[in-house]
Symmetry: D2
Subunit: 297 residues, 4 copies
């Protein structure tokens, strides 16, 4: 949360976030932290995880302060790559705390998850820019434009699906780092998904893997569960099966109708989705096969 | 939640809510339910509580279905009063499920709790009408009016306090059933509060009675608590001491700054306040001295 | 919780609990409460639910105080049956608050859920008597007998299953009102279950319907869920499919191994099972098809 | 949790835990991790926190694997001290994952928190040894000895307090690393506490700082709070004011008597205390003034 760093650091512009994933070997932390120290950087927060043998993977996220990071970032990237990352065959990324992720929100007719994101972004609480909202219906145009955001209506039918997905990809190109499906009622093709691997976040309105598929609140009602929930996950070619980022539940009773489960569930959905988007935007989530490592605060 | 009743009842217009509070004696439920049965009403939900000897109090909330309740309500009220309520010296109220409470929201500069209420009311999720938003600052006018609500700016200073409170009371007169303080940064006078006994709901940004008074998130930070919370309560002449309606907490860690506690806490505040307002609007809250009976779903 | 009633009622011996289930019709509460009033009983707590049209069902649980309930109970039962229950074709039961349910606990080798129940019962916190612990292994004998409870070892093999179930039924006969499967690693036959309809409570170590079947903690680990849970339900002929009584979850992270998920989960299991047993023992649970109505406090 | 490490590491005997606290300066992680790497150790888990300027403090906890740690530990300690710790004026500690903390439990008459700890320790779930239970009453002797633990009865009166504390200190000497007050109803003198700075853990039966002092459940009942809780903290000379390690709450309603709040609260107390003791025993807690840094899993 960028606001917090302000309190702890004289200059947010000088805060960098380094995320690393590679095969686990002795000496990685020493190599990374010594490199940073030699560059004049000071580590202010570090979280690390090893997934354990066999085939253990190493995951690292750290925040550091480096004077004039803005002008020095390109050189830092090149040098780090050469001296550290290459030797360990790291997948890695460096971002600055002041960089905002560019997010397209896809939505159909339900507005609750969308509005939560627009609102948190407007207030500066969620560190993202939202260059556009994309919908297969025109219903929410007024609400979205009323808050000052762009709204793109791209109808999707069984016939035009391939065409409309192509149009969407062109629309997003070079403008968007992440797609958020805020109750978007279309299934994206494997082809579309392949353009945004680990960069599409969905909110599913159940506590997955329970009640995958259609109408989960009715399923929950009929099963008589005592807690309902929501799940935010990365989208893969397998529907509702991608790596889970965050989940939450809320207690329910026999007194609640399906409609009331939906109202309660909507509040859980928007909360869970906002949290998942924040964590992604702050580089706290690393995909590990069909699971995630999440370095929460 | 009115939507839910629809699913269970052919006609929401025919649903009444009866709330009763009196000294506990044998036979009250029998008297009330037999009266309802004789009127042709069917009880669809009933919750009851006795506070126990000595000086036990009886609390009852029930929902019933009665054909043509709209035209029959006045007669029902008169007859119930005469045949049942008078004998037990009941405090009681009858409302129809379709009646919406008229709520004035008081706010200063923080928008999160305000926006949550406006938004839930706009979407029909919260069964209230909001005839006006009242603020001692003009900052939030555009946001409020942009969503189609009236905004009244009534500045308050040390000098004009009595005058501005008088103006406020005139402004609200006959237009408002409930006042909600959605982070309103003025202390209402005992005189003002006496006009709205048990009809002013406040949200306090701590888990009361801990951290009453100013800057509770800083207090929480300095104390190093592991959970922070929010409390919604009725306003009385004693600051932060009125009957508690609802509370909630969220887990925090040593990693979070005061600013981050505030962001997390804001989400708890708006959730807790919305819940308290819903329960009040659905006649689920009965004040019992300095405490409340809350018949939740 | 019987201790609580003491505080509110001069004589726990005079407290009765009436539970009713029947087709919903107008007038039931009036009939029941008027009957009670005419008997001289005072209702101290009442909770009611109607499941809504079509085929609406009526569910009621109430506690009343009636002087000398002990000597008057038989007559009360007969009269209530004749004057009220028969006309509405009620399924109903009357118990006294001082009656303790007789519970047999079935267990295999895991001790956590068993020990929690023995311990709570020993301390008088859980209002049950435990005439025996039954196990298909002899491992836990010393622990159980050390706390002063009877331990019955009934080995079960693929070959002797029918015989051992028959022996178990004979062992329990007239001694037990409820069977609790506290991580009992045998599947009871449909024949056995039919002797104890809605009177066998199981604890399943997942948040059902997710991860039904074997090794749910490993399934949860491999799926990468962010919450794990436990489910207590009545046992039916369909494995892991019976009406759910209670569920609870706990947050987990990528740092936890399967073994650690088990440890955390064990604590959830024992808590959820103890709550379900308490609610059953206090007549708070009514089975409604494949679901439950639970009148919690 | 030692079981977990087993899954990830071929030899738990070779796992060490290093905890460091010092003034924050650039280069500390580099210095520590490079030292470890040069010793042939592999870091398997690392968590770090900086408390921010001004007077920023650095906190680190890491687990590493080092072949033959058992025989090499003394040399490691000496070398680390000389080459790394001295230069940064570190407070630091190295423990092996297989070392069990020696804990004395102090108790009066309530058994719930005591029994939870004895039980978890007996089952190997909590990595502690309990050389003795100390009580100012003799009531729980049979329960404690029945589980195979030593029970020491040291009566405390207003008159003999200094003498009995002195006797207690002698009894514990060289036998105990941590004292746990599991609802011990005596206030320890500042003199006693000074022998065990940051090594006495108490469980307080409220959500501190709310309801400090006597009879917190009655205070909570009278205040009408909607959540009750428990707090585990280190004991200092100021009663109920020491650094908080862990807190938890549970939802309550108007239906619950003081006795029922106590029963619910007891379950929260034993859970919170067990968690605090585990975290201390796994070297996850670092005291930072009147607060704690807790590196949870």
């Amino acid at each position: 949360m960028s606001q917090a760093l302000t309190a702890q650091s004289p200059n947010l512009l000088d805060i960098g976030r380094l995320v690393v994933c590679c095969a686990d070997k002795p000496g990685i932390i020493s190599a990374v932290s010594t490199f940073l120290h030699n560059q004049g950087a000071n580590i202010v927060d570090l979280d690390q995880h090893s997934s354990g043998a066999p085939e253990g993977k190493f995951f690292l996220r750290l925040e550091f302060e480096l004077k004039n990071l803005g002008t020095r970032k390109d050189a830092f990237v090149e040098t780090f790559n050469e001296r550290v990352a290459a030797g360990y065959e790291m997948q890695w990324a460096l971002t600055r705390a002041t960089e905002k992720l560019r997010v397209a929100i896809f939505v159909s007719k339900f507005d609750h998850a969308l509005m939560e994101l627009l609102w948190l972004a407007s207030r500066g609480v969620l560190p993202i820019d939202i260059p556009m909202v994309v919908s297969n219906h025109d219903d929410l145009r007024a609400q979205v434009e009323g808050l000052g955001f762009n709204f793109e209506h791209i109808p999707v039918t069984a016939e035009n699906k391939a065409v409309s997905e192509k149009a969407t990809i062109e629309l997003l190109e070079d403008k968007v780092d992440l797609i958020v499906l805020a109750r978007y009622m279309q299934i994206l093709s494997a082809e579309f998904v392949s353009h945004y691997t680990s960069r599409i976040i969905n909110i599913h309105h159940s506590f997955l893997p329970a009640f995958a598929g259609a109408d989960p609140y009715r399923q929950a009602y009929e099963k008589g569960v005592k807690l309902i929930g929501a799940t935010s996950h990365y989208v893969t070619a397998q529907l509702d099966q991608g790596p889970i980022i965050e989940q939450e539940v809320v207690r329910v009773s026999h007194r609640l109708s399906v409609a009331e489960l939906k109202h309660l569930g909507n509040d859980v959905e928007r909360k869970v989705l906002a949290r998942a988007v924040r964590w992604h935007a702050e580089n706290r989530v690393i995909v590990d096969g069909n699971k995630t490592v999440v370095f929460t605060k």
